[in-house]
Amino acid sequence: MIELEHVTRTFGERRALDDVSFVVRRGRTTGFVGGNGAGKTTAMRIVMGVLTPDAGQVRLDGRVLDPATRRGFGYMPEERGLYPKMKVVDQLAFLARLHGYDASTARARAMDLLERLDLAARAGDPVDSLSLGNQQRAQVAAALVHDPDVLVLDEPFSGLDPIAVDAVASVLVAHARAGAPVLFSSHQLDVVERLCDDLVIIAGGRVVAAGSREELRAAHAGSRFELVASDTGWLREVPGVQVVEFAADEAVFDADEATAQEVLRAALVRGPVRRFGPVVPTLAEIFRELMADGAVHDGAAHDGAQVAA
C-alpha cells in the first residue's frame, strides 16, 4: 500500500500540494481525479521521486520510499517520452534490461506486453512513426515491462479510442489484481468510474474526497429515488416525498428510506412497477458537486491564489 502523508509542495508562490494525504491500496485500481493544475501530476512526481516534497512523506507498506524501492515502480510521466528513433520493441527490451532482466527475457516480456496491448504489429517500427494513440500504448507498455511492484500512470487514457482504452484498462486491472497498487490520473470521468475501485479527488492542491467508488457514490447519493411505473402522478400527494423530476410514467423524488419503501408498496398496489431504486450519482455529478461546493476551482492553483480552507 502506498501512503502519502501530509505532503506539501510549493513552486515559488504557488502551493501545488497542500497537506495531501491518501492511500493507494494493493490489488486495487485508484483513480486520481481533479481539474487542470489541481496537483495530480505534482503528487505523482513526488511518489516517483522525480520531485521532492517540501514537507510530508510517502511510504510503501509502511516504509518510507527510497530510490532502491522506487526502482521497482512503473511510471508513465505526464509528457510522453520514449526515444523517438528507437524501435518500439528495442526500447521496451532496453527498459526491461535496465531493471535487471536478461536480454532474451527482456525481449520476450516486451513482445508479450505488445501483444496484450494490441501493438505487436508495430513492434519493429520506430516510435516516432506511430500514431499518437499507438505511442500512448507503447508508453503504457514501457511502464509495465518490468512487472512493477507499484504502477503510477499520469493520464494513461488521454488520446485513446474506446477500443484502445479497453485494451489498456484490462492490462492495468490485471496488474492490480496481481497485487500491485495502481494509481492513475484521468480527466475521463466515465473511464475512471468504470475502471476504478478507489478514488481520490483533488482540487487546488487539497484532497476533497477519497475512498472506494461505492462509498463515494453512496455518500453523495443522498436520499433520491427513481420510480418507473404505469402512473406516478399520485406521488405528489404522499407526505414526506419531494418530487424532483416528473414525466407521465417516471418520477425522481427525494424521501427517507422508510417513506421510499412505502412508496414502492403503494406503487405495486396501483399497477406494475418497471423500475424502482435509489439514484446513484455518476462520478461526473459528484465531481461537479464537489467543485461547486468548495470555494475551490480549477483556476485557484493557476493564479497562485491561496485556496480558502
Binding site: 522506487r70 510521466p77 517520452g81 534490461r97 535487471g100 511502464a143
Partner: protein, 366 residues
C-alpha cells in the same frame, strides 16, 4: 511481482553505453559520414604519394655500355644503355633522353645536355661527403609541420565535436521527451551519465583508431615509410591522449546540456565547451612554429591531446614529458567528471527554464 535484481551501477552503465553505441551504429548518417571521413584520409595519403612520386620520376639519360657499367644505379636517374657515344648524343638531340653520360675524367662521367641541365642527374653524380647528424631536426620543413599540426588539430576537433554534440543532443532529447524520468526510475543518475560518456567515448575512440589505422596502412602501402617513422609515435600518443581528453570534454557536454530542457536552448549552453573543443586546433595551427606556446599547450589538459603529439612530431620532447602531461590530463579529467556528475545529477530532472550553473552546484535535486 517478481522483478529481478536491479543491475549494478557498472552493469547499468554498460547497458546505457550499449544503447548509445548501437543507436549510433544503426544511424545511416553516422555510417556514411564515418566512411567518407576514412575515404578522405585514404585519398589524401594516396594523392600526396602520387604527387611525391611524380616529382621524383626518374630522369632518362643515355650512356654507352662502358659508362653505364661504371656509374651503375643512379638515384632518380634512368640510365639507358646505348652502343656508343654517337647513339647517346643522337638520343639527346631527338629529346628521348635528357642527357648523355660520356666518358669523362676519372670516375666521374661527362654530362652532355641539349639546353638545360637536369639537376637530378648532377645531384646523382655529385659525390657528397657522408654527414652524420647528431640531433636531427626531423620536421624542419615548415609545410610538413603545418600539415601534421593541422591534421591532428582537425581530427581531434571534428571527432570531439561530433560525439560531444551527440551526447549533448541525447541528453536534451531525454529531458525533452521526459524519458529521463522513466530511465531514472530504473537506474541511478550516475549510470545514465557514465553510460553516455562511455558509449560515445568508445565510438569516438573507435573512429579515431580507424582513422589512424587507415593513415598508417595507407602510408605503409604507398611506401612512405619515412613519414611513418616520424609520425608513428605521435600517432600512438594521440590515440591515448584522445581517449582521456574526450572523456574530459564529453562530461562537460553532458553537464552543460543537462541545464536546458529544450533543443532550442542547447546551442547557447554548449557554446563554452564548443570553444574548449575548437581552441586546441587554433593553437596548433597558429603556433606550431612557436615552441614556447606549443610547450605550454602540451601541458594544458584541454589542448594537450593535440599539442603534445605535434610537439613530439616536431622533435625535442623528452620521454617523460608525454607521461607527465598525461597524468595532468587524467587528474583534470577525474576532477571535471566529478563536478559534471554533480551538475548533471541536480539538473537532469529540472524541466522548464534553463538551470543556472551556480544553482545546479548549490541546490539539491528537485
Amino acid at each position: 511481482m517478481s522483478a529481478p535484481t536491479p543491475p549494478s551501477l557498472g552493469a547499468a552503465t554498460l547497458l546505457v553505453a550499449g544503447r548509445e553505441i548501437t543507436t549510433q551504429l544503426r544511424s545511416k548518417a553516422f555510417l556514411i559520414s564515418s566512411a567518407l571521413l576514412l575515404l578522405a584520409v585514404l585519398a589524401g595519403i594516396v594523392v600526396s604519394s602520387l604527387l611525391a612520386g611524380r616529382d621524383s620520376a626518374a630522369v632518362p639519360v643515355a650512356a654507352p655500355t662502358a659508362v653505364a657499367a661504371q656509374v651503375g644505379e643512379l638515384k632518380g636517374v634512368d640510365v639507358q644503355q646505348v652502343p656508343d657515344e654517337d647513339a647517346a648524343l643522337a638520343k639527346v638531340r631527338d629529346g628521348s633522353v635528357k642527357a648523355a653520360l660520356l666518358p669523362g675524367t676519372g670516375s666521374v662521367p661527362r654530362v652532355v645536355v641539349l639546353t638545360s641541365t637536369p639537376q637530378a642527374v648532377v645531384d646523382a653524380l655529385t659525390v657528397t661527403p657522408k654527414v652524420d647528424v647528431l640531433e636531427p631536426d626531423r620536421a624542419g620543413d615548415g609545410v610538413v609541420r603545418y600539415v601534421v599540426s593541422l591534421a591532428f588539430g582537425l581530427v581531434f576537433m571534428m571527432a570531439a565535436i561530433t560525439f560531444g554534440s551527440t551526447i549533448a543532443q541525447n541528453t536534451v532529447t531525454e529531458k525533452q521527451t521526459r524519458i529521463v524520468e522513466i530511465l531514472l526510475s530504473a537506474v541511478p543518475v550516475r549510470a545514465l551519465l557514465a553510460g553516455k560518456v562511455v558509449g560515445n567515448s568508445v565510438l569516438a575512440l573507435g573512429q579515431i583508431t580507424a582513422l589512424v589505422s587507415v593513415a598508417v596502412i595507407g602510408l605503409a602501402a604507398t611506401g612512405r615509410d619515412d613519414v611513418l617513422t616520424l609520425v608513428g609515435a605521435p600517432l600512438a600518443w594521440f590515440v591515448i591522449f584522445f581517449a582521456v581528453g574526450f572523456v574530459l570534454l564529453a562530461s562537460i557536454y553532458a553537464a552543460s546540456a543537462a541545464l536546458v530542457s529544450r533543443m532550442e536552448d542547447l546551442g547557447a549552453v554548449i557554446q563554452p565547451v564548443t570553444w574548449l573543443t575548437i581552441a586546441p586546433y587554433f593553437v596548433v595551427v597558429f603556433f606550431n612554429d612557436n615552441p614556447v606556446v606549443l610547450a605550454v599547450a602540451s601541458y594544458v589538459p584541454f589542448s594537450a591531446p593535440v599539442a603534445m603529439p605535434v610537439r613530439m612530431f616536431v622533435g625535442g620532447v623528452g620521454w617523460a614529458e608525454p607521461l607527465i602531461s598525461l597524468v595532468l590530463l587524467v587528474v583534470a579529467t577525474v576532477a571535471v567528471v566529478l563536478l559534471a556528475a554533480r551538475i548533471y545529477e541536480r539538473s537532469v530532472l529540472r524541466t522548464g527554464p534553463r538551470v543556472r550553473l551556480a544553482e545546479a552546484l548549490r541546490r539539491s535535486a528537485g
